[in-house]
Symmetry: C3
Subunit: 323 residues, 3 copies
């Protein structure tokens, strides 16, 4: 469903099932869009005359802003729909909202939604000339986050095959973890681990091809890459998580613990960081942290995905015109 008949990227809903060559194409393209801090931003006219609609049913200033910057640097017309004040709040159905927005003339939806099936639903029912980019849907997927993480890893460790990589934290509720595991599997990462307390570990996660650790120290051993997840405030002090203090004591990434990984291991985090909850400030700001590089890569990956999706539309339209 995400790909055109000839295997190009039409939508980007999930990293699951995307062929390895296409994931690599995203990374290669993104690499060209990376602007070094303090250098002139890379600008490109690839989306000139195209209209991108930011549909954020769930609030996320940071992710919305990176998509806005990506769209503007590609010269698109970008509209942020104030969706919480819109007709959907007047009882209009999601489908009616989509039909109406597409009738205004647009080429791409960037969708953030609290429901795990929203992006697929919209991609299934929207007009055929529109591309849908999933900017996070429920517990399901956050594919651009996963790809910016892949890009960051590749910049430090170009060959995925020997790498030992762990994802640490609330695996159970994390769309980021799911999307990363799919991408890492496709890119043939050597070993993928998940580290979490048993209450935050989803049942059957082993079936995704990962090794399960409930002990942080064991899980960190010999790692090349440590991917920390953000602990959501709503999980704290619940049956799933007795106390922040205890969580940090057992799973917080401290300088001490980080020494269990390889000396050149990199530390990642999707942000915003809860200092002293899932990670020690000295680690977050330390020499092994690549957290801010992830943010920079986020704009580049979004530019890559948006330009590839629009390019596949153009080639579709050309075929249609030729036939």
């Amino acid at each position: 469903m995400q790909l055109t008949a000839d295997g190009k990227l039409k939508h980007f809903l999930t990293t699951e099932g995307i062929p390895p060559l296409l994931l690599e194409e995203i990374l290669d393209r993104a690499e060209q869009f990376v602007s070094l801090p303090g250098k002139a931003q890379v600008k490109a006219p690839l989306l000139r005359g195209k209209t991108v609609m930011n549909l954020f049913f769930e609030n996320s200033t940071r992710t919305r802003t990176t998509f806005e910057l990506a769209a503007k640097r590609l010269s698109a017309d970008l509209v942020n729909l104030d969706i919480r004040n819109s007709a959907t709040s007047k009882g209009e159905s999601l489908l009616d909202t989509i039909r109406n927005i597409e009738a205004m003339g647009c080429d791409m939806f960037v969708v953030r939604h609290s429901s795990s099936s929203a992006a697929h639903f919209i991609a299934k029912y929207c007009a055929p000339h529109i591309s849908v980019i999933n900017a996070g849907d429920g517990r399901h997927a956050h594919p651009t986050q996963a790809m910016l993480d892949m890009l960051t890893i590749r910049q430090h460790k170009p060959d995925f095959t020997p790498l030992k990589i762990a994802i640490v934290g609330d695996i159970k509720h994390s769309r980021v973890a799911r999307s990363e595991i799919h991408a890492l599997n496709t890119l043939c990462a050597g070993e993928i681990r998940v580290i979490a307390p048993i209450t935050l570990m989803p049942n059957g996660i082993e079936d995704m091809g990962v090794k399960v650790y409930t002990n942080m120290e064991e899980g960190l051993k010999d790692l090349d890459v440590v991917i920390m997840l953000r602990l959501q405030h709503e999980r704290m002090n619940t049956a799933q998580l007795p106390s922040v203090r205890e969580y940090y004591a057992r799973y917080g990434l401290t300088e001490e613990r980080l020494k269990l990984a390889k000396p050149d291991a990199i530390v990642m985090h999707p942000g915003p960081v809860n200092r002293g909850v899932e990670i020690d400030s000295r680690v977050a700001d330390g020499s092994q942290s690549v957290i801010l590089q992830q943010v920079t890569n986020g704009v580049a990956v979004r530019m890559a995905v948006m330009s590839m999706a629009i390019a596949s539309q153009a080639s579709l339209a050309k075929e249609k015109g030729a036939s």
Copy 2:
């Protein structure tokens, strides 16, 4: 007041009193701006270097977005004023707000306001080089909505003179109905009907040149065009409207009832649709519905009106320079 001395469009406040040739010019121009779904958007540099201010004192994400898209496709600088958080909420008068915004340098106000006289008031008192486009004021007028409806009708039935057209619903509180009736009269529509329960029918509406029906079945007979209005939630379950169920039973547009109109009648609705309240889903999504075409035409009509108003400013400035 809406026209320049030589009869060009300076403001667009109401369809009332606009000469037929000017209404037709709006429609002709808009036709050139219509982008077919999936085709490249029509872009034009007609407002390059111009600043358009969206002044939405009343919230309407959908209408605001179509004006924003229209302005961007005409290459204007568009600023959405967050008017609910602005100085007016600090007790500043409307006139002070207007004076201040125009002092920032701008060429056009797009105004939405809950008061019926707001757009005229602003047009009367704003600086002479500024055009005001009414995006809906109280119960008074919504002229761009009326014109997008006229465009949609003309695309299906090019000659207005033989047409039988009905507007159905809360006529009493509808600025859309008022603006449509004025436009249809000017364009010499054959017969204009209004259909509503007596409690939602304004006194003396006959004076506007319409036929009044309180019986839906009678009103629908032999129609070429059925224009449904949105039933506002605040009217429901009041003295004016005993219950939604009863309203739908008597005035809901069902497939059964639509058969009373001509077989090629078109069904229109300004959106967002209340399915099962004023219209059956099967009709809203059916082959006679042109509701989404209305949305597409909405962007084109707004582009037409904005570019005509800016062009009349330019010719005014030239005259002034020459004299």
Copy 3:
């Protein structure tokens, strides 16, 4: 800290300590950016490819809009960060927010904050290639407001040295007054007065080189320029201010009182005006008022400051490249 090693404007945090030639350069440049009402806006490509982030931690629609217009007229990519809904509200520190936004790639922060040290803090800790423009921080400074006032004064009275200028109102809590006093001192204004009730007069204000008046009539005598301040609603009816009625009786600028100043004195106000609280409507709208000219100058001054700061970055980058 605001200046580069060779004395160019890098940040604009406060008017304090900026050399006179640099203040005059701001005024000269701004003069070139002033668009006359009804004339085409001055547009310039000086910030093309640059990203400006509006970081308004404190709400101010008016100031935010003038910065947005200034950035757009300089061809920048401008992003309004919805900072109240952003990660800072999820407990992220200001520094983490800044680090993250700069990692997205940006060249300038426009900062409004309720804390008096926010702009300096951000300028101190942000990446070296980023310029910070203070759009008002706590009670500390509002330098672009001060400079638009200087520009307005200079347009009417080109030589500052003989001028008698008074600032009237809540001096104690006013960042505008502070920034104006610094700028007027640097520009060698002849005499600077502050007029306020004793409860709204800061201790030791004389040390800033101003004459203190608690009697309005005495303070107004022989003035060339009267700068009224806005009385904040939160001050009214407190221990600091017994009643609005009494304040107006003693400190309101009436036509009668204005006669005490020179006949060609100009009246200024940063807006929004509280009519009948600090100023009579007839004065605010009268022939001596230049309040709306201040607004027009506001966009021009912001364009000047933004373009100077970006230019100093470019020359820094060149040097760095050459060395």
